[in-house]
Symmetry: C2
Subunit: 403 residues, 2 copies
């Protein structure tokens, strides 16, 4: 009999957000009159902005005419987009990243999952706890539940910023601004991680999908703001949250050419070459029209519209923070991130208990912290991607809630 | 030091078609007046048809309005598309496949590459030789150059249809209509493979990306036309070639729920559940607008337009077949496929030698057979995706060629 990947048997049966969706659907079916407000999943709600819609229409027209039709594009992304990214997101910020170090793709979920393809199976891997479930699940798929997977505790005692490991770890996933806690690292804090990685020959997989939400000056938007990071880090960026591309699908991954590992023959191998080979072989590029949409994010109109989208959601983050502080709850995040991480009040049994009571008594949905790891138990994540009206109403309901 | 996937060191340095592109670019730079006609890569040249363009514009407008905007979609694809596929491509042909057995994705290259994620590393694997390079390369990435990889010889002595293995093989890749040879299997021939797989508990990975080009009645469009295939096969389908989606990116993979393997605890595990977990965790769905474009393929206008595209390319296949037969060359394929597989004339040294002379003396590009495997040596692939005019001119040049 042909054999399956047995590691899949060690995964939770379903992805966290699938479980939540099913719970909401069941509740809504049983309570058809409940006006449920969703502040759970990190999905945007505002439409794509005019500059992007215009670029999409124009490129659709190009695809309908023989002279301008485009078939297979470069697997790494079109130059027009890679050039704009390198210029706007990096070089204009004084970061030395070239266009050909940027790999355009269909999503950070794909890339943070697929990056394991180019790594060895004997690496020790560190992920934070709580964590975005994809990092953990994709490692279990690859190497199984294993002592090689280390959890870096993020909890109230360290303000949900994990400490540098006191042992040698090969591959470290960091996500800042953090999903799920909304916490951020200052430049000085991130420098310590880069220093650790360079000293220990570690690889940092840095997920910066939420960088557009940073409001404070000493918080880096890219790990490549830190000197030497180009020799020890890969960065994942996304158009999902800053420009509302969750349904349009575009992101990019930066693999600097200076990032090298030593193979078992003692040769220096550039990870850029490996990722390029992976993407050329197992991916056929992001749709041309989507890449034209992403390019429009960098036009003057696109930049202005995108900033307005982020500001809209950050107004919600303020509403949530203010309301919950007034309620007397302990909270983290929400200042440089669209997520607010809440300590469940003493009256709640645990984070799933709090989820159930909040849904049943306030008709408000969030995400139970334990879904992100055991250190998330007793905590809860609110996202700020709903409308101003719904967010205000949800917070009012919570403030009036006799828990 | 963190470790890389050492198997990458066992791959050819570049993907076949990257090598060819570089050769053409170098030749064009040195001979700027040469009017080069490309019949190499399998990329379409006709624009997207009106029904698809209309659907794309409409869905772009939906994405620009708050009431109709769509964020994250189901990782498996929207129901509107899965339903149309199940109905049109399967149930209307008498094949019992349900909508939830269909996983919409961004390309068959991705899916035929990623399918390895859910399979064990100890499987023996068979691929044909010659073969679409992705099957081989993605297996080398996963398990390395290995005796577990078996090559099924396709050559003139078996009319480029491999024989059933006389040993037990766990996983078998079949692609019919075949890329690169353009050959097809009759229903009776494919039945023998299904019988073999059922008897040996093997898994068939059936790539039917070119099914729309089938003109003969006894050639199956889907492996699921064969009784029992739902217990031993996964099928890959694509909108790239039938509807010209190479730049728009949409395909689908059928994983029947009846397809099960036994895990190492002796439990029956549905591959449907594994692929669903893989896609939910490492993929965020195909863009909404692209899925609306794919849905339009199934409208009455879309069906008519798509058939016209295929007919256009098959007219080229006829032109190529006729011309090369008149030239006295030995050819395969081209009757139910957009590829014509040509035995290089005796005057050519080998398939790369033929490539170079054809480029230099006729300014015509094809693909050297050896690029698809060692049994491809001495053969050459022409694709029929260029315009009628260019195809006719290329064939005239070849006919007048004093090789």
């Amino acid at each position: 009999m042909f054999k399956i990947n047995e590691h899949y048997g060690q995964l939770n049966e379903s992805y966290l957000f699938s479980t939540i969706s099913k719970k909401i659907a069941a509740y809504a079916a049983a309570h058809p009159d409940a006006k449920i407000i969703r502040m759970g999943i990190g999905d945007v709600t505002l439409p794509l902005s005019p500059a992007i819609i215009k670029a999409l229409h124009e490129s659709v027209d190009e695809m309908g005419a023989k002279a301008t039709f485009r078939g297979y594009g470069p697997e790494q992304g079109y130059e027009f987009l890679r050039n704009k990214i390198a210029e706007t997101d990096f070089r204009n910020r004084g970061i030395n990243i070239d266009a050909d170090e940027i790999f355009v793709s269909d999503g950070s979920k794909s890339d943070t999952g697929n990056i394991g393809d180019i790594l060895g199976e004997n690496n020790t891997v560190a992920i934070t706890d709580p964590v975005y479930p994809v990092y953990l699940d994709t490692n279990i798929m690859r190497i199984g539940q294993s002592e090689k997977i280390h959890f870096l505790a993020s909890n109230a005692s360290n303000n949900f910023l994990p400490e540098i490991p006191n042992q040698k770890i090969d591959v470290i996933y960091l996500c800042y601004p953090n999903n799920p806690t909304g916490t951020v690292m200052t430049k000085a804090q991130l420098e310590k991680w880069v220093e650790y990685a360079r000293k220990n020959d570690s690889l940092i997989l840095f997920d910066a999908a939420y960088e557009a939400f940073i409001t404070e000056n000493d918080v880096p938007h890219s790990i490549f703001e830190i000197e030497g990071a180009e020799t020890c880090a890969i960065e994942f960026r996304s158009f999902s949250k800053n420009a509302g591309f969750t349904g349009l699908r575009c992101s990019y991954t930066v693999v600097p050419k200076a990032l090298k590992a030593t193979n078992n023959k003692g040769e220096k191998i550039a990870l850029h070459a490996l990722w390029n080979r992976r993407q050329s072989t197992k991916f056929n590029g992001t749709p041309y029209i989507v890449q034209r949409g992403a390019e429009a994010v960098y036009s003057p109109e696109g930049q202005q519209e995108t900033k307005a989208l982020v500001a809209y959601y950050m107004e919600n983050a303020k509403t949530i923070r203010k309301g919950l502080l007034e309620k007397g709850w302990t909270i983290y995040g929400g200042a440089n991130a669209p997520y607010i991480w809440v300590q469940c009040p003493a009256e709640a049994s645990d984070s799933w208990g709090f989820f159930d009571r909040l849904l049943d008594e306030c008709h408000v949905v969030g995400t139970p912290g334990v879904g992100f790891g055991k250190n998330g138990e007793g905590y809860f994540r609110f996202s700020s991607f709903n409308s101003h009206e719904n967010t205000k109403e949800a917070i009012e309901r919570i403030k009036n809630w006799k828990i």
